[in-house]
Symmetry: C2
């Protein structure tokens, strides 16, 4: 049995930190068919009725070197964390860019780093579109905690057009503590908010230090607790009295304007 401090535990934990569990027949089949993705395990409910698509999944999993595991229906629900929509199928996909935030902060950094941190992005479509924009725009990491944000699941993967699998997701338990660790590591924390007196267009000019931009909930914005940590609040100038932008649009503007 492995104990928390053993090397084996750390390796396994690092492996699991890099995995995303997808569920549902179409999402799992698509992931297995993508030659750029590595599947670690295919999980099937032993109550599934025989079906060609299940047979195909198993063949693909074997070809790709993934383990095929059968479970009772309840155990499968525990793995997918969505028994209502898993359709008796789940898969653990390896995402090479995923890691714990603290692990990322310990690594030597190459050049100026630009991170996004998510403080309550509750809509999975928004999360997926945000990831797609951030990856395309070369953002170095997306700080994500399970608490308060939409899950890294099928809806977000679909909205990300699959870019989520190769996104640099930095997991953390508690966003406040995570941001404090970033600050201690030399990152400036910038919160996005309409009340910000600094325009993103100005803040992003000639910047040389590493920075974390915090994006808040679609309705409530960034929480008070997180705003207290910020080195600056930046806003995006908007014409014609528009009050806010979609959070994925905001992420794209940060990624492409702050270079």
């Amino acid at each position: 049995m492995s104990v928390p401090d053993s090397p084996e535990f750390k390796d396994r934990k690092a492996l699991f930190d890099r995995m995303i569990t997808v569920y549902g027949r179409n999402p799992v089949l698509e992931a297995l068919e993508d030659p750029n993705l590595e599947c670690f395990r295919l999980h099937l409910a032993d109550s599934n009725k025989p079906a060609a698509v299940l047979q195909k999944m198993q063949e693909l999993a074997v070809q790709r070197g993934a383990e095929v595991c059968f479970h009772g229906k309840r155990e499968l629900s525990r793995i997918s964390r969505n028994g209502k929509q898993d359709q008796g199928v789940a898969a653990d996909i390896v995402c090479p860019g995923f890691r714990q935030l603290e692990q990322y902060l310990e690594l030597p950094r190459q050049g100026r780093q630009r991170l996004l941190a998510l403080d309550g992005i509750s809509n999975p479509q928004n999360l997926g579109m945000l990831v797609r924009s951030a990856v395309a725009g070369g953002i170095n990491g997306i700080v994500w905690s399970a608490r308060g944000n939409a899950e890294l699941g099928p809806l977000a993967i679909k909205a990300s057009t699959g870019t989520l699998y190769r996104a640099p997701i930095l997991r953390c338990e508690n966003l406040g503590k995570g941001l404090a660790a970033c600050q201690a590591a030399g990152f400036a924390i910038r919160v996005l908010g309409a009340e910000g007196s600094t325009s993103l267009l100005d803040a992003a000019t000639g910047d040389t230090g590493s920075v974390v931009y915090v994006l808040g909930n679609e309705t409530r914005g960034v929480s008070a607790e997180i705003r207290q940590l910020a080195d600056a609040t930046v806003s995006i100038p908007m014409a014609s009295g528009v009050e806010s932008l979609n959070v994925a649009v905001t992420a794209a503007l940060i990624a492409y304007l702050d270079r």
Copy 2:
């Protein structure tokens, strides 16, 4: 009876060019409750069963100086153009920024103009988000034709968070002819496409002439017919092998990068 060349006809046509017909009980009620919007006519099906919300709509319409018209169910479907979802209710809302593209091109232009033209934006959520981004980013006009694009209806209005009502929509019958007219009026036509050899980041620097950026269908991109008209094809550089961006994100990047 008015004839096409009479001043009365032109006034009425100009008025109708500025109107958007919304339908469905919630969208109509929200429009009537918004003090910044002008309602021209409230349309009700005479087959509607009495309901408090209908009573409220009529009171608001009268307060706001709108005409209240009753119609047979089939006539109401003709007005809403969506009998399945109109719930017996429609309203003509005046949008001060809407006009015909040709009318816009005849007006004197104040400074450099930046337009977007839509070549087959089929998803109403994308259309609405695009409008929200373009309005916030100060785009001077959005060239829209009924043919090939999602309708300027309730789904797009919702996704635009209401900014569609005050967007500078430039209607045209045929996008190819509309773009040719823009070109004749001195606009450069730039098509967005992954195959473009010019980066938006470069194209947008130090530009002084007026320009139309053409955004294509979510899957197929800009059509061949329209690409032939283009003065240039511009692309947005994308990291990590991402193949495309959401069209609303693209619109925002144009609006904020080409200034």
